[in-house]
Amino acid sequence: MSLDLVLALLATSTVVLPLLAFGTVATLEVLGRLPNDRQLARVAKLTFLFSTTAGLAAAVVFVARGLEPLHFVFGSWFDLVPQLAHAASENTAHATHAPHYGFELGVLVDATSLVYLVLTSLLSGTVGAFSLRYLEGERGAGRFFELLMLFAAGLSLLVLAESLDLLFIGWELVGITSALLIAFYRERSGPVRHGLLAFAIYRVCDAALLTALVVLHHLTGTGSLPAAFAAPVTVGGATALGLLLLFAALGKSAQYPFSGWLPRAMEGPTPSSAIFYGALSVHAGAYLLIRTAPLWDSSTIARTAIVIVGATSAFFGTFVGRAQTDAKSSLAYASVAQVGLIFVEIGFGWTTLALVHVAGHATLRTLELLRAPSLLLDHQRLEAELGTSVPATGAHYERMLPASLRTRLHRVALARAGLDALAAWLVARASTLAATGDRIDRQVAAALDRRAAFEDEILPETEPRAIARAVPSHETAEVSR
């Protein structure tokens, strides 16, 4: 077996192992034979043990192979080849209508993806191990491990994908698992709403990635990254690609103006916050830009836009983060700021620095987030050791400002620079518009049906009898509450 194949298989098993584990558990669940949380934790433990080992082994083989990038295609997932010969040959005008369209499954292992892969394997393994103890006995711990396995598979896929098409699948899986983990405590209102918010932002930004994917196909005739890197792309095309990819990256990496969801995402269990919003998911946007850099780096506009967005986010994250009063929120904003700086580095073309920054930041932030629940304990211990209170630090820049301005800025920072208010306003406007459409639809339908427009509506607030009829009495109390 050649070394290439070994490397490809090792790298792929970081995707396949967690995916298989997840698939098996999900199938059992559908069959009504869901393993209990303890068994699920054991499955997760083994899965992460093997996939972390595979990831690290891949790194060793990569080094042994002489650090040469490996582009390995296993085959095609599906393939649409016009079967009739004349579709392609007889009529060239129609050939544009009948393009060959396939979806290849392959990996691209190079220094960039390997750094990320090792990081993914190590951190998801570590956090998995941490959660075994941290979430022991917690209701729904099994579900946590299930989602964590799907996330690990999605992220490894995102990292290793040889084509933008495949990367998109990993990207989507990371998004949906992230939203479901934010809403982990699903019987509380906050987590559910915040999970939905994160998902909404992801989806909107994912639309840009999907568009970029098609633009790439259009410009280069392929979705495969190595082939696309070699293909000539016009500056206009590079700008379009760069801006679309930047927009896609904004959501996952919580960059300005889409930073609002990140502190809210901390509603999930701490280990998932650590791995998603400290370590891996939050850097996915940066990875996307680093991975695709050869496609857009000829465009000054795209690079400038990345620098501006990164700098704005770094400033915004620092500014707002300083006013936060809880540990996880300040860590979230600190992440926004650091990822912003990483974006600036990427915009300037310093991708190696950016990669080192990603690795350092991810590791440190994971540690900080995992320690966050014991912050008070740590603080008390420190004070006990010192024999006095811990001196306040970090207010250096604040002291340089006049006191009146300080208060005002603090207020602005607490209000997250008005970003939430703006978002709320936009949502309200959109809802009003939708409500108008809805009202017109009802009136039209009512006119055609010769009925009152709103009789379809269930309005228990105004019609207590309707809900009393509809819901058993012991539940009515809960609804009206």
């Binding site: 939905l196 009802r442 509506e457 819901v471």
Partner: protein, 475 residues
């Protein structure tokens, strides 16, 4: 061979019709369900056989030629035939007992009683479902425009019977009369040399009414609220309007005003449907708007006239149709337990009914193209084709699909999240678990191994599109 194919195509239709009649006279709902399920399973097997072995070879239906009644499944209709019956079978199996046995399945006035006993005379619901499926199948098997128009008109009859005497009857009648008149007029006009150019716009308008394309969409959400959810799914999800459009474009690509009209209104519908689904307070209305948004996606994919878009669009009909049916059945199951479902409050239930909540969430996600399900592959194809050919249409399409995704997750989270539910409602029964699990399994299996569905679908269009208008291009 073709005479034989005609008979083979008629066999599942006749079988379903007989099953419908037997179901109609069933003594109670339980027996009716058994008869209907047996009939639908048999119908499905026969439809699969017909699709594989009874395919008519030869030229596609041409709208510009006079011809008498004729039946037969060809490359385009054959892949859809088993799908239409499968939707019917899923609904027969998945309809909650309460709704099947005459507990009014009406969004506004459902009464909640936990154990309705089957009552006499309520096999009618299942009988009408099967009749609807049989007529849809006949529409698919129509080989001449006249046959097609006749079965277009007849396909609304079971639904009218179901709605008779209920609210929602009149608006359904209005839409059905309007769309039937337009389609009939289109078919007739296509044969008159002087008026030929009006045929495409008339037909497209008729299709738009039935598919609920803006501004003819208002009937769909009301229909979803007023009709039994199962019947609504069986009527809407096969997207026969889109099928007829596919029939038309393979024979005669849309050009000029019809194409322009469809593009603009399709784009508006996708966004509008998605936005309104997101803002709904009633789960049923939200389902209606989701269906509207999705049918616009299909029409836009088809209207392109390209091989890739058309293949994708046909696959979207199957993938999203099946997923939305499953999603609808899960919602119907929830409604049977709780009464009318509201989306403006969080109702809880993730822990007390985990299987029901999980099924709703997963089937909902499958309907919006979660990777690993068939809808992902299908939508991927449509997006590629449309973004290549008509970038702006494609961008709106992608955006609207993103919003649909948010709407679906909101429905699942609002129905099952946000608080602890302590009402003692039961989780999925074995029957429900079987149906929803099966729908999910089919979607995931085909999503992971899509080639067996992709190849024949593409082949269908190749056989029909390429020979018919090899020289026609829109770009």
């Amino acid at each position: 061979m073709n005479a034989m194919s005609t008979w083979i195509a008629l066999v599942p239709i006749v079988a379903l019709a007989i099953a419908s009649a037997l179901t109609h006279v069933a003594p109670d709902a339980r027996v009716a369900r058994v008869r209907a399920a047996t009939g639908a399973t048999l119908g499905l097997a026969l439809a699969v056989l017909a699709a594989f072995f009874g395919r008519v070879e030869g030229p596609t239906m041409h709208f510009h030629a006079w011809s008498p009644l004729a039946f037969g499944l060809d490359h385009l209709s054959a892949p859809l035939a088993p799908f239409v019956v499968a939707i019917g079978l899923a609904v027969v199996l998945g309809t909650p007992n309460r709704f099947a046995s005459g507990g009014a399945d009406l969004g506004g006035d459902a009464t909640v009683r936990t154990h309705d006993r089957p009552r006499r005379g309520h096999g009618h619901y299942f009988a009408r479902l099967l009749a609807n499926v049989a007529l849809s199948l006949a529409l698919l098997a129509a080989r001449t425009p006249l046959t097609l128009a006749i079965f277009w008109i007849l396909s609304g009859v079971p639904m009218l019977a179901e709605l008779r005497g209920r609210r929602g009857f009149r608006i359904f009648l209005v839409q059905h009369l309007a769309s039937s008149t337009l389609v009939l007029a289109g078919v007739v006009v296509a044969k008159l040399a002087a008026l030929e150019s009006f045929a495409a716009p008339l037909l497209v308008l008729g299709i738009m009414v039935r598919e609920g394309i803006f501004p003819f969409h208002a009937w769909v959400p009301r229909f979803f609220v007023r009709a039994p959810l199962g019947s609504a799914l069986v009527f809407v999800q096969p997207q026969l309007g889109a099928y007829v459009l596919a029939r038309w474009v393979v024979a005669d690509p849309l050009g000029g005003s019809a194409s322009w009209l469809l593009d603009v209104l399709g784009v508006v519908t996708m966004l509008y449907g998605a936005a309104l689904a997101l803002g709904q307070r009633s789960a049923r209305r939200a389902l209606g708007y989701l269906a509207v948004s999705q049918s616009a996606l299909v029409l836009l994919g088809l209207a392109d006239g390209g091989l890739l878009g058309a293949t994708g669009a046909l696959l979207v009909i199957v993938a999203v149709g099946l997923a939305q049916t499953g999603f609808g059945l899960a919602i119907s199951a929830t409604e049977a337990r709780r009464g009318p479902l509201r989306l403006d409050v969080e109702s809880g239930g993730f822990s007390s009914t985990p299987a029901l909540a999980g099924a709703t969430l997963m089937l909902g996600l499958a309907s919006i193209g979660l990777p690993g399900t068939l809808a992902f592959v299908a939508e991927d194809l449509v997006f590629h084709a449309t973004l290549e050919a008509r970038p702006w249409v494609g961008v709106v399409m992608v955006l609207a699909t993103a919003i649909n995704g948010i709407a679906v997750l909101r429905i699942a989270f609002r129905l099952f999240g946000g608080r602890t539910r302590r009402t003692g409602e039961g989780d999925l029964t074995r029957r429900e678990r079987f149906v929803l699990g099966l729908v999910g399994a089919v979607l995931v299996t085909l999503g992971l191994v899509p080639q067996p569905v992709l190849a024949p679908t593409m082949e269908a269009f190749e056989h029909l599109v390429v020979p018919m208008h090899a020289s026609a291009t829109r770009h």
